[in-house]
């Protein structure tokens, strides 16, 4: 005999509580299901790949370190991301931050100049005809090809690296912005005309918001390219930065450090992409991908 049936009062209470308890249970079950469906596949695949890596690199004559060896050899770097022993000998956190600082400068300039030029060639057919052929040629120049000429111009490594970021990120921003401005629906322009918005109001209230989804897809491609370029540029210019850290480790034959740095580079790149994507969704209220 259960407690509910022996005591009518607590029985009723239990019955009243039961729906919410059952609901709670259902919710927990649903959460479990969701985790199982979304977390299980990446965990399984990652474990499998690491296992394969471990097996392959543990074989005699393997040239690259196995994951266990990487963790063992880089343990100090993993647990102390912000140590500072002076000079280039600083933790991975500082290395990444140094690279991010260069990206921040170069990318910010690319955003300002790129959006402005994009609006210009989106609005003016004359400017488009004049600038587009030049842009189409220049945008195919690989980022590192700009480095020697910028080193010659700036006579200093840091501004050169920043310039390489700028020149790499700017093309997709210009092109996407101009497409966005060109594709503003006539309907929106008709609304602006009926309301007699002045050019400034038209620009801020109609054109920019309407082109924002395009602009943000350009910004997102741009941030990805910036991060690709900075690692390569830093390998050549030296100093503190994740790119030079990789080059330095290669010269010192510390392959485990390189593996760890690659993981850092990948995670930071993913993070940057997500941040720009998040801002884009907020600004465009969900209309940009």
């Amino acid at each position: 005999m259960t407690a509910e049936s022996s005591n009518p009062k607590t029985g009723i209470m239990a019955a009243l509580r039961q729906p919410s308890a059952a609901f709670h249970k259902d919710q927990l079950a649903a959460l479990g299901q969701w985790l199982l469906a979304h977390l299980l596949p990446p965990v399984v695949v990652l474990t499998g790949l690491m296992g394969l890596w471990e097996i392959l690199c543990s074989m005699p004559g393997a040239m690259l370190p196995a994951p266990s060896q990487v963790v063992q050899e880089t343990w100090e770097l993993i647990v102390l991301p912000f140590y500072n022993y002076g000079g280039n000998d600083v933790g991975m956190g500082w290395q990444v931050l140094a690279s991010l600082e260069r990206v921040a400068y170069g990318y910010s300039m690319a955003v300002v100049v790129g959006v402005s030029l994009g609006v210009l060639i989106g609005k003016s057919t004359w400017a488009m005809r004049g600038l587009d052929p030049i842009f189409q040629v220049l945008r195919t120049v690989p980022p590192l090809a700009w480095l020697p000429i910028s080193l010659a111009a700036f006579q200093s490594s840091n501004p050169s690296a920043i310039f390489v970021i700028f020149i790499t990120a700017i093309w997709p921003i210009i092109i996407n912005t101009s497409v966005g401005i060109r594709n503003i629906p006539d309907d929106y322009q008709n609304v602006a005309r009926v309301l007699r918005l002045n050019p400034y109001e038209n620009f801020t209230r109609i054109m920019l918001p309407s082109a924002a989804p395009y602009i943000f897809s350009g910004l997102r491609i741009g941030i990805g390219l910036s991060w690709l370029a900075i690692v390569a540029a830093e390998m050549l210019i030296g100093g503190v930065g994740i790119g030079f850290f990789i080059w330095d480790a290669w010269n010192a034959s510390m392959l485990s450090d390189i593996v760890l740095a690659l993981i850092y580079v990948g995670l930071v790149g993913y993070f940057l992409d997500q941040v720009v994507g998040f801002i884009g969704r907020r600004v465009t209220r969900g209309t940009s991908a």
Partner: protein, 284 residues
């Protein structure tokens, strides 16, 4: 003066492309009284939208002119508010903000911030959209979007309200519902309205006069039918009203006997029709 509130005087419109010139509108003459509700009906591609755009100022007539309240129309302006078939709400602005953009621009100097806010809410309330102020256009139904479009147009307190097939994209029940709303609002505000429609029932139900246009090219006004039905009108009672049915018959006779589309449905012809329809969509 109030008998000649809107004057469309000998308006012609010729579109020039590279080699050909298309004479779309030919000598359109129409005079509208203040507070009158006019429907313009005609087959697709007869230039109804072009005529409305000429009155709105979005396109300029090749010759002839449009005079509203003693002033010649030569550019778009908030005194001729438009309700577009595809609503044309700005998708990044909420329902409230869409109306606010218009109200703040039109009454920015003449009304205080509080008055403007009250006026926005009043207009959204009038079309029954007070419950969805913070929703984005993508989050509301087609009928609701059209209500917001109407609220935005009414909130400008236009001298002339231009409706370009306002209910064309809606299902029949929603359309009927919105027609009722428009009649109710019209009874209160007594706006001067120019409405394009394809729908004979809609034209007879809502209008004081129906302007029937001939087929293009060189479309012009074929007949004008005065609708002498008492207001308020009730669609159910009118269904058995002989006068109402006589009006319907007159419009149908014009459209399907006198202005019957005679072009055979060859692939080429239907292609043309398609591109015509596309053009109309892009014009708005």
């Amino acid at each position: 003066m109030s008998d000649r509130y809107l004057i469309i005087d000998n308006v012609n419109k010729i579109f020039h492309s590279k080699k050909t010139a298309t004479h779309v509108l030919d000598s359109i003459n129409l005079t509208v009284k203040r507070g009158e509700y006019i429907s313009i009906i005609g087959h697709s591609g007869c230039g109804k939208s072009t005529l409305l755009n000429a009155v709105s100022g979005l396109t300029t007539a090749t010759s002839g002119y449009v005079i509203l309240d003693g002033k010649e129309v030569n550019a778009p302006g908030p005194d001729r508010a438009l309700v577009f078939q595809n609503h044309s709400l700005l998708p990044w602005l909420s329902v409230y903000e869409n109306v606010a953009l218009a109200v703040n621009k039109v009454f920015g100097a003449s009304k205080s911030a509080q008055e403007r806010k009250d006026w926005i809410l009043h207009n959204l309330d009038m079309v029954g959209m007070s419950h969805a102020l913070t929703r984005l256009p993508a989050e509301i139904s087609g009928g609701m979007k059209q209500r917001v479009g109407i609220a935005r147009a009414l909130a400008m307190q236009p001298k002339l309200l231009l409706l370009d097939e306002p209910f064309g994209a809606l299902d029949a029940l929603t359309r009927a519902h919105l027609q009722e709303e428009v009649m109710r609002i019209q009874a209160d505000l007594n706006n001067t309205v120019l409405m394009i429609t394809h729908d004979v029932d809609e034209a007879v139900l809502l209008s004081d006069r129906i302007v029937m246009m001939t087929n293009g090219p060189r479309a012009t006004i074929g007949e004008v039918l005065e609708i002498n039905l008492d207001r308020p009108r009730n669609r159910i009672e009118l269904a058995s009203d002989p006068l109402y049915n006589e009006y319907r018959r007159a419009v149908l006779r014009f459209l399907h006997e006198k202005q019957q589309k005679v072009a055979p449905l060859t692939p080429e012809a239907s292609e043309n029709k398609q591109s015509e329809a596309d053009q109309r969509v892009s014009v708005g």
